[in-house]
């Protein structure tokens, strides 16, 4: 199995875990909880579809789902910024990545602020966002330096972020 394939398969399995183990337990607020993970699942599905077909539509979807994932986390900006972003993203993937970076950065700042105010923010969520940020930055640099829209290094860093991201969900399951 190639490294890219392994990253995609592992990412899909990891991102599916919270959706498979939690819904029956967390009856209330299912939709909001579902939104938190579903974009990550869609991201990895697009990743694998792109890897196997090399069809440009899937790389476009990959970037859009990546952006939607961070956008959902920083949802106070959802309406107005998504409205602006979508028509452009249809033509330029780089823009979706820049928006991803923007949403992830603000979300990270928000989490750190909440953590400092002694709220119950998980350290794992913060670490995962740091890895996601590094992954996005690496991907941006790869695009600017060599027009590489599917960097193994960036995807591997993103996978580490995914691993940390699902830990809070597993903690809730363990306590149940």
């Amino acid at each position: 199995m190639m490294i890219e394939e392994l990253i995609g398969v592992l990412g899909l399995i990891l991102s599916l875990v919270p959706l498979l183990v939690l819904p029956l337990k967390v009856k209330a607020g299912t939709l909001r909880y579902f939104l938190l993970y579903i974009f990550l699942v869609l991201y990895y599905i697009s990743y694998l579809l792109y890897y196997f077909t090399f069809n440009d539509v899937y790389i476009l979807l990959l970037y859009i789902f990546e952006m939607a994932f961070f956008l959902n986390m920083y949802r106070s900006y959802l309406a107005k910024e998504l409205f602006f972003a979508f028509p452009f993203i249809y033509y330029i993937n780089d823009l979706a990545l820049i928006f991803s970076f923007y949403f992830a950065t603000f979300n990270l700042a928000e989490l750190l602020k909440n953590r400092m105010h002694n709220m119950n923010v998980s350290m794992m969520a913060i670490i995962s966002l740091i890895f996601f940020e590094i992954g996005i930055l690496t991907q941006l640099l790869r695009i600017f330096s060599s027009q590489d829209y599917f960097s193994i290094i960036a995807n591997a860093i993103f996978l580490i972020g995914t691993l940390f991201f699902i830990v809070p969900a597993l903690r809730v399951v363990r306590k149940a």
Binding site: L22, V26, A28, G29, Y33, E110, V121, R171, K175
Partner: protein
Amino acid sequence: MRKNRSESRIIFELLAIIEREECTSSMIIRRANIPYSKFKEIEENLLERELILKETNGDKTFYKITDHGRDLLKGWRKFKELMEMYGFEP
């Protein structure tokens, strides 16, 4: 400035109040800090979904949580804990 509570948060706060002890409507309104009209709206919804029961004792009406309501509240607490870990306010 204090943020407004979401509708679902008010509902679960109300359920939590009733779970702690049997309450009259005025006790619930005072503890949940909601207007009477809002209470009536939520009460109707909760009774319809069989999450709470209404019992009359003399001239007083008490509210009790059902097993289904308790289950839902348990699920909500887990959801709340999960959302807070990601920095969300449910």
